[in-house]
Amino acid sequence: MAFISIRNLKKYYEMGTVTVKALDGVDLDLEHRSMAVVMGPSGSGKSTLLHLLGGLDRPTAGEIHVNGGELTHMDENDLAVFRRETVGFVFQAFNLIETLTAVENVGLPMRFMNIPKKLRHEKAMHYMEEVGIADRADHRPSELSGGQQQRVAIARALVNEPTMILADEPTGNLDSTSGWSIMEILAQLNQSGRTVLIVTHDPRIGQFTDHIIHILDGVIVPELTDQLLEQFSSQG
């Protein structure tokens, strides 16, 4: 079985009398150390897919196998351990804690792993160096640019040495220059052996990978043709 293997994945939201089918039968295989991009129009289910794969939410139906484990069979606690040990999240909105310094933000996940303070600091600094933000270690998020904040967030996603990086529109809040450097960093992380899955609208990502997953209306499609997109927008 592949490193990531998704079978017939469904996520429905009951909105009163209407059922929103955010995902409606997704099958997906991803090899270890691969890098893939999820693309699709707004509301097509990209974030939903990432959240389910990262164990942040539970599907309505289907199977999610990651590294031999089945997420839908895990209890709350196992799922927390899975998120802690296997997944590194990068969000569009950075989600840094405003009252903590950069290095404290990066060190936060290690607090849940009982890593002692000194080692926590060392590791945090190590990963901040890796993403080129070590010189801003003692700054608060408000004192950093968007690109710098996203680097801090990436360092935070790396400290627990996850095998899988999930990035949901990591460049969405950035100008094109900082966006480009973030994409470079993510590609670099893939080079050094991590499995990376990115949701993005930025076509420049094509420079780093040709594995593109097109998603439309909750299902994976081979290619996003104009005809398909027209059909989609007339529905929505």
Binding site: D57, L108, N114
Partner: protein, 446 residues
């Protein structure tokens, strides 16, 4: 998460919201201070009251007299079999009764006592004083446990032991008005005259006054301790009974007449009430100061409960404040909770974190409350004493106790635990809610 990591994280979270935490804690500070101050005030009042009860020796004593009350009732409700004109007689305190008292568990000694039935005046030089004589049926005066100011606690025929206040009763009967009263005489080891007077009637119906003078040596002075002994003159029981035989013109028969009173001394003051009850059941009248003290003490327990309750209401309000702050904190930090979960925090981690924060607020409030109450207690002790002693000295002519706050260690420990508990309990619901948030929904929360 290990406890060390957890506490450091809780500390971090409390520290980065200092303002909010301190504002919330103020409620707990006031509640805790209210409880601690009020309860320790009640404690202090009780302690003062207990000190007013005076001599502790008398607290472990039961005084027994014949039950006149019961005898009167028996006459009133009796089946008319009582010979007319004869006074009903209660059970006398005979040597046999005294043995029965001594056999009650917890009783260490029983001492019969009697007073002189005639007039008694002590004379020393040109001074004289009325003598309230108590004859005690023991040589070993130390059984009664009175602190001695001077001399020995040993009493034989021809000897007296005086209460300290008795010395101040001496006056000069030939003193002219406006003259400076004499200082109290030094009577230790002095010999004084005890003048006993009896009144009889001759065949013509005229009253005759007869006097008898005894030479008595003062062998000991009892230190004043706000007890019966302060104003008493102790003498051997045999000598008192001899005097009474002279006054009444017939010999005293202990088996028929019985003793006027018996002092039952118990090993421990806590047993006094129980022993008194048993003696009452035997048909005598037993009285112990313990009865009164217990009544007073239960009053102070009620006072403490009421005072504590007032503080408790204040703490309840504080608890609602904590619950509110925690609920608000969870709303504000919903995204943060989602983030922590995304970073690998378990439900238990989130729960313990929020519970810990709430308990931390309670604890901080408790510490503040204790400092505040130490301060208030100090102020009450200073100002309360100044005010109240000016009020009471005039009434009792002595250090009248005043009002004071007594803050025992257990109360401080209890207050800390209690305020922490208040924090925990009020944080429970908000913390449970935080822990059960679905991470993705928490992350999307605006």
């Amino acid at each position: 998460m290990k406890l060390r990591e957890l506490t450091s994280l809780i500390f971090l979270n409390l520290n980065r919201r200092k303002g909010r935490v301190l504002l919330t804690a103020i409620g707990v500070v006031i509640g805790t201070a209210a409880i601690v101050v009020l309860v320790s005030l009640a404690q202090g009042l009780q302690k003062n009251a207990n000190e007013q009860f005076g001599n502790i020796a008398e607290l472990s004593r039961v005084n027994v007299s014949p039950n006149w009350e019961r005898a009167m009732e028996a006459m009133e409700s009796g089946p008319g079999g009582m010979p007319s004109g004869e006074m009903p007689q209660p059970d006398p305190i005979t040597p046999a009764a005294i043995e029965a008292f001594a056999a009650i568990p917890g009783v260490s000694a029983v001492i019969p006592r009697a007073s002189v039935m005639g007039g008694t005046v002590m004379k020393y030089g040109n001074l004289e004083a009325y003598a309230y004589i108590i004859g005690v049926g023991t040589d070993d005066f130390s059984i009664l446990n009175y602190p001695m100011k001077s001399g020995v606690a040993d009493l034989k025929k021809g000897e007296l032991i005086l209460g300290e206040e008795v010395l101040k009763q001496f006056y000069n009967p030939s003193m002219r008005p406006g003259q400076e009263p004499p200082p109290p005489p030094e009577l230790q080891d002095q010999t004084i005259n005890l003048e006993v007077t009896k009144w009889t009637v001759d065949e013509n119906g005229n009253g005759i006054e007869t006097k008898k003078v005894l030479r008595m040596k003062v062998v000991g002075i009892i230190q004043a301790s706000r007890s019966e002994a302060d104003y008493a003159v102790y003498m051997s029981l045999d000598q008192v009974l001899d005097l009474n035989a002279w006054v009444n013109g017939r010999r005293f028969d202990p088996n028929k007449d019985g003793f006027e009173m018996a002092m039952v001394i118990v090993e421990d003051r806590s047993m006094a009430l129980d022993v008194a009850n048993q003696i009452n059941e035997m048909g005598f009248m037993a009285y112990t100061p313990q009865e009164f003290i217990e009544g007073v003490n239960s009053f102070y327990v009620v006072l403490q409960v009421i005072f504590g309750g007032v503080g408790g209401v204040a703490l309840l309000v504080a608890a609602i404040g904590i619950a509110n702050t925690m609920t608000m904190a969870i709303l504000e930090r919903t995204r943060e909770i989602g983030l922590m979960k995304a970073l690998g925090a378990t439900n238990k981690d989130v729960l313990s974190m929020f519970l810990g924060e709430a308990a931390g607020i309670g604890f901080i409030g408790g510490v503040g409350g204790i400092f505040l109450s130490l301060l208030i207690g100090e102020l009450i002790n200073i100002f309360g004493n100044v005010y109240f002693s000016s009020q009471t000295t005039s009434m009792y002519g002595g250090g009248g106790g005043g009002i004071s706050v007594d803050m025992p260690l257990w109360l401080i420990v209890f207050a800390l635990l209690f305020s922490t508990m208040i924090g925990l309990v009020s944080g429970l619901y908000p913390a449970l809610r935080a822990a059960s948030l679905v991470p993705v929904r928490a992350l999307k929360y605006e």
